[in-house]
Subunit: 348 residues, 3 copies
């Protein structure tokens, strides 16, 4: 008469090549956009106004790309990372079709790597996760790896298998959603005069403002994504945990950094790929996030004169204004909480 | 030049048999679903995804049944319980048609009982409240009783009238919304392998996780329901009140317990009836809720092989993990804040 | 490689007659209405229910008028008031067409006055801002003036130009949205028995309840309006600022006062004009707002027997119940945070 409580999978519960179908399907709406706006303060015009998006060829304003990512990610949590000790990394994230109000998101993950740690208490799990819409079109596809507890340290170890992962998505793999034409993009209305041609590799941009995170805000955002990771919601148990308090979902930090990046990157209307990302330090309610970005690379898109891609590294710091571009010395970061590497698309 | 301020009705303002039309009519939308999700973390697939709901015969994803209940309940507050000392109980709650985005909710209540207390300062008011959609179809119909202050202790007492209330809604009175067929219900997508046949009376299920309540969260939820009970919103006056702080709306506790119950009862896709409920102890911001459930009874539905009903008792506790099923000894509860008795429907 | 960060305009960056197109266009939805409800607790029936609004001739429930105002206002902030020392006033605010879900808001401002202060560190900027829908119809049009910092105190002063502003919008300039007929207005459903004929100039109404503001609430509201004023969001920098903490957006205070005013003014279904307003004192998270109103004037609308206008002065106070109508003695206010002068429409 027990056993109906799901306590999550442990390292030894995964098999290489296994495909896991995730609950819960979710139909998104304009309300997700509005809540995301209220929780992050994002101001990108394409996601804010239907006529602006329609003028570029979108059927209407798509939901923010990271909102789409978090909804997909959230679905994987109950199956993949409920017993995670740490989120170790992301790679090879490719954004596909935009997500529109009315679409229904489902997700599945394939186990692409397993390696037990030498202490035999934990292991690293690699999964490739994909979120699709109701037509089965890929919204986002990415690899992440997490350190998982074993239920039983004596459980036999699988033969170690670590996938080869690209350092970055190749510029040639970046795509624009079908039918998009940026030639009539209105920079005045979008709020930034700068286009792809105005950015140069090596350029650094301080995003200026800071935003303080409240418990209610990060918890609402994370619940909106139906992400069930315990550390974000339970003050009672976390008071006895590693940090003594609830932890902010790393994805909320990504979203806040992206929203801050509007100031300086206001025409980066689309996330095209996620190359990698590191949650350098935990964030807690009360922390104030600032961000700066560096242009790592630029790439034209084959056959397009209206749009190009920028590879960005966006760094978020806490309680530290980014006018001095806080960074790392060797492997030691200063004030930094997020080091994020991704491709954006921008009108030329 | 005074008198336009509504100070609420007192015990002596009610007459047996009186019908009260409540303000404010409310058209619900997908935004109510999204906010409810962000505030409670609920994960039931039927309420989350249109195609999942449509596969069962719903025209689209209905709003969560307790969201519907809270909206109806909220409308009754300005007329019924603004001067309540305590919410004493619920009974005979029957859920009718599902509530869909675009529907408009109105509510009315009939006074079905009145009994002055011996101190002559207060009395118990019993009302049967019904919320209907724009077609007049019942969304939920229930009795509740509250202890109300008298404006004037010397006001004459009505002859005492206490309605006979059932201990529980009879299984034979439970209905499924029209046109619903559970035979194609997808348990993998819904996130739980267990159906009606897998549960047995007496079975206890620990729902595992805990969720901490923030002031902004319970206040937003309660305002979303246009519930105006003063104790939830006013720190200034409540600092001088009974608890020295704002009280969490009991309905928010019900919703959080229901959301937690997904872990172990993930296929309980529909609330069919509310048999009774007791808010054993107050909840405040900062409290962490946990929950467990007991199967009180099972009932087949006449002529149906695809679906059955479970009578559940869900108990929520605060700052106390429910692995040990905190309960009562005699009449004394331990850590418990909610003891709730209701019928759910589940695929077989 | 610097210079893409927008640090906002300073006093010397404005020219008389200049027209500024504001980013970001925004398509509003039912989600804005639901969030506004959850954040303010408003209960006016016209904004809450489509059938109620439709019975009066609206195509559906319009968004709350102050929600519309805040969205327009928010757009002006990055261009107008990022470097404001103080918001000094509003005048000549006229509400035009109602804002409906699906409409897209854009805004522009014209510089209508400039006057450097004698200290040469700051100056007063006057702008007339207008928000329009996708058909170019005016949603709201108003003048506001702010004290702005100069980037360079030595920058030359423009010749002082101060616009002549009306003390109040003339009753003859008030309009009802096209096609509206209040003759079938249902006061029972709306929640108040009082119509235009029941109010008299000089009458004072205590709105009764109080509502406490949380950081997450005012920050979510202000972000929903894409208002980027730094003082509302950044605990880290504001801890070194004038008040040592984040400031609540004055517009959120207006909205809470309006929501409280339902108790006593429940049929004031439409804001017709904004005559002036003064944010007398700052509000912070933790403050509890109360409000009272005075009827300043009444005006019939030409040719209408179904509706009239009331000129109201709504005063909000903090941590002070308004049963004693806190006010000013000479220029000194007691407990007051907002003194707001506006016209509403009400059925007769």
């Amino acid at each position: 008469m027990t056993g109906k409580t799901d306590t999550g999978r442990f390292f030894e519960d995964f098999r290489l090549g296994e495909v896991i179908v995730h609950a819960t399907p979710r139909t998104v709406s304009e309300a997700d956009a509005a809540l995301y706006l209220a929780l992050t303060g994002t101001r990108f015009a394409v996601n804010s106004a239907d006529p602006f998006a329609a003028a570029l060829g979108f059927k209407r304003a798509p939901l923010d790309d990271f909102l789409a990512f978090h909804i997909v990610f959230g679905k994987t949590v109950p199956d993949i990372s409920l017993n995670a000790v740490a989120n170790l990394g992301y790679a090879e994230g490719v954004f596909g079709v935009p997500l529109f109000p009315g679409d229904t998101v489902t997700a599945r993950s394939e186990v692409v790597g397993l390696r037990e740690n030498s202490n035999r208490q934990t292991g690293t799990l690699y999964v490739r996760s994909r979120g699709v819409n109701q037509r089965g079109e890929s919204i986002v596809d990415y690899v992440r790896w997490v350190m998982l507890r074993k239920r039983d340290p004596a459980a036999p170890a699988p033969s170690p298998q670590v996938p080869k992962l690209s350092d970055a998505v190749a510029a040639s793999a970046l795509t624009l959603p079908d039918g998009i034409d940026l030639s009539s993009y209105d920079r005045a209305l979008a709020g930034s005069p700068y286009g792809w041609d105005d950015y140069a590799p090596g350029e650094r941009i301080d995003h200026g403002e800071g935003v303080t995170i409240e418990e209610a805000e990060h918890a609402m955002a994370t619940r909106l994504y139906q992400n069930t990771a315990k550390v974000h919601f339970n003050r009672h148990s976390e008071s006895q945990g590693r940090f003594g308090k609830r932890l902010v979902y790393g994805g909320h930090v990504i979203s806040l950094a992206r929203a801050l990046s509007f100031n300086g990157l206001g025409n980066a209307f689309r996330i095209a790929a996620l190359n990698g990302g590191r949650h350098v330090a935990p964030c807690f309610a009360g922390d104030t996030l600032y961000a700066w970005s560096e242009v790592l690379d630029k790439a034209a898109l084959a056959g397009r004169r209206d749009v190009g891609a920028l590879r960005l590294r966006t760094v978020a710091a806490k309680d530290h204004h980014c006018a001095d571009f806080p960074d790392k010395t060797g492997d030691t970061y200063h004030a930094v909480v997020l080091d994020f590497d991704y491709w954006v698309l921008m009108p030329r």
